[in-house]
């Protein structure tokens, strides 16, 4: 009986000690950078005594889970690393805490961060000086390729004979197609290989992120720069139509069989298993790919190729304090710590993509990894999908119409883009923007 009493007392003491400990919860997507952040955060806990609990949600459910939480004014998260497109909803619907006063008080300057990332991850309205997030994870859509196959003299000479130039980093999308189709169905080391693992996912945002990589490179604009929300002739311009047609051609000629609903992990798997010569993916995955190729002989990386203009699809996220949190002071403490240049340097060293100028402008940065220069190049040319509060409503019709055209082969590219504009007009009208 005495033993039981002691055990009960110890348990109660432990429980009360734990419940008194300061802790916050951070929500993000479940992927490699999240593990790096978890590692980095151990230093924050050691310095401040604040425990950080992590909730990482798999990408396919990430937006659903987090946006439902915000819409329900949930208190699960104190900090949220939310997608760039959420910033409009976060600001307009009051989900995120406005950080201007906090930044002023703590001497955190947005001038210390890459302008493209501040614009994309922190501001609403776009380009204003209203900050709702600290740039946390810079990212853009890029490409990895099988350098070891490219370096084979017999393959290169065969390719050169056919196309008149060497296998290498493609200068534009036409060259990308040449190279991808060259590998399509080719037998290398006794195995059948394919051209490229590209984004074709239907459910969330995959195919939109993929096709816009082409559309931006062709010079597509979402709207008339002089007349907001006027999309006719811009989003469905002849260049945009050509880009969508090209993306379908790339899918038909170069994707491996069965690659009809693929995004990040499927592209990564196709590449890692040696099925494809190229993969389209986010920079966030390159540390993992690079880690398995320590001497750098297997994989090469490059920024999204240009066509008419140099452009890349923006990824990445900012870190925000959730308005409904009861621990906003502790969450702000974390942001203050995370904004420090020395922490940002460690963040990059661990595999996260810092947006801090001290890290990016360091002379050693471009050569610090094989993909660092590409990352720098990309962050200078990024473009994002709509960041409106209604971005989900805008994303869904695009997913459906583009998938219908590219994967399903239904209708025309112009018809798909016209249909998307029709739906977007309806969304903007309901939102009072038109």
């Amino acid at each position: 009986m005495k033993k039981i009493m002691i055990l009960l007392f110890v348990s109660l003491f432990t429980f009360s000690a734990n419940s008194n400990a300061k802790s916050i919860t951070l929500g993000w997507a479940a992927w490699d950078p999240a593990n790096a952040l978890q590692e980095l955060t151990k230093e924050f806990t050691a310095e401040t005594g604040i425990d950080v609990n992590f909730e990482f949600v798999p990408w396919p459910n990430f937006a659903d889970r987090m946006l439902n939480e915000l819409n329900n004014k949930g208190k699960t998260f104190d900090l949220l690393i939310g997608d760039s497109q959420w910033i409009g909803a976060g600001a307009v619907y009051g989900h995120y805490v406005k950080l201007n006063d906090f930044f002023d008080k703590e001497g955190i300057s947005m001038n210390d961060f890459s302008p493209a990332t501040v614009y994309a991850y922190s501001t609403w309205p776009k380009g204003s000086e209203n900050y709702y997030a600290l740039p946390a994870m810079g990212d853009a859509l890029a490409w990895a390729y099988r350098k070891d196959w490219f370096d084979r003299p017999e393959l290169n000479s065969e390719f050169k004979k056919k196309h008149g130039y060497d296998l290498g980093v493609p200068a534009n999308w036409n060259q990308l197609h040449d190279m991808c189709s060259f590998f399509q169905g080719r037998e290398i080391d006794g195995q059948k290989r394919y051209g490229a693992a590209i984004n074709t996912e239907r459910g969330s945002e995959g195919i939109t992120m993929g096709v816009t990589a082409a559309m931006y490179a062709w010079g597509m604009e979402y709207e008339n720069p002089n007349k907001p929300y006027d999309m006719e002739g811009f989003f469905n311009s002849p260049q945009a139509v050509e880009a969508v047609e090209f993306y379908r051609k790339l899918y038909e000629d170069c994707a491996p069989p069965g690659h009809s609903d693929a995004y990040m992990v499927a592209n990564l798997d196709a590449y890692k298993s040696g099925q494809v010569a190229f993969q389209m993916n986010w920079y966030a995955f390159w540390p993992g790919v690079s880690k398995e190729d320590s001497d750098g002989r297997v994989s090469g990386f490059f920024a999204n190729p240009k066509q008419n203009v140099a452009a890349a699809t923006l990824g990445g996220q900012g870190i925000s304090v959730v308005k409904y949190s009861d621990k906003q002071d502790l969450a702000l403490e974390y942001i203050k710590w995370f904004a420090r240049p020395d922490v940002q340097q460690k963040w990059w060293d661990l595999g996260g993509y810092s947006c801090h100028n001290d890290v990016l402008n360091s002379p050693s940065f471009p050569t610090s990894t094989v993909y660092a220069q590409g990352f720098l190049d990309s962050m200078g040319i990024v473009k994002d999908f709509w960041q409106e509060p209604t971005f989900v409503e805008l994303m869904l019709p695009m997913q459906e119409a583009i998938h219908d055209y590219v994967v399903n082969g239904k209708g025309t590219a112009k018809g798909a883009l016209d249909k998307i504009i029709e739906e977007w007009v309806e969304v903007f009208e309901a939102d009072g923007k038109l």
């Binding site: 439902n68 996912e201 459910g203 069989p257 609903d261 399903n408």
Partner: protein, 299 residues
Amino acid sequence: MSVKKKFKGLSDKAVAWLFIGPSVFLLLAINIYPLIYAIRMSFTNFYANKIGREPQFVGLKNYIKVLNKEAIWEKMQVTANFMFWTLLLQAVIGLGLALLLNRKFKGNELLTTLIVLPMMLSPAVVGVFWTYLYNPQVGLFNYVVNFFHDFGSFDMIGSSVLAPWSIVIVDTWMWTPFTMLICLAGLRSVPNYLYEAAEVDRASKWQQFIYITLPSVLPFLLLALLFRGIENFKMFDMVVELTSGGPGSATELASINLKREAFEKWKTGYSSAFAVILFVTIFGFGNVYVKVMNKIKER
């Protein structure tokens, strides 16, 4: 006796209410109230994610919009096709398997257990693992099909022609055992003396099937199809995991579209109207079906 003592002073009616009260309360709270709320919302322009914006009454606008939207009719057509083929296949194969398992042979119990296994799995899990079975490069399904006839490489999920069949096949694989079990129960309830009398009258096996087996088992089969019809009308998880409604919208069933409108686009008013239309449709069909079923039973 002890129950009587415990409830001493309460009338029989009060005791009855005490027992059914919690169920009635839950029914009202979980089913009836949301239904009435959804009907109310369907006449407004409410967006659940637009905090602070008061819903405004828009009359029948949402209903007109739903009924005039071409895309909605496409989804309804996809749903109707899915229901028709799954119910037909499950009825035919389910009845066939039930007839087979109604015979006495060695290993009957083991075979029944094996056949029933698929319906014990989670639909989401089934959706995920069939994506692997359908993989054109390594999938078992493609291998088996090509083993019998070489069709070359084909993509069940990525082709707009094959994708609707891909979900029909998986649903049939998963739920035929359910139809089979209900039919088996029906077959085992047929008294043996009917067959003995038929034998005496020199009825052939086919005549026995048409005049004894089928009429006896038909009410059971219709009941199984009613359950499957209702379930398939609201089919969601398996199809989302398998095709996400794609390619394009080739397998986007009405329920998937409803979820996207309600909980991704947050068009609460519009999607409530859509939900009410779906409810009335299934309720109407269900009622007609039950009446037909009762008539068949009475015969």
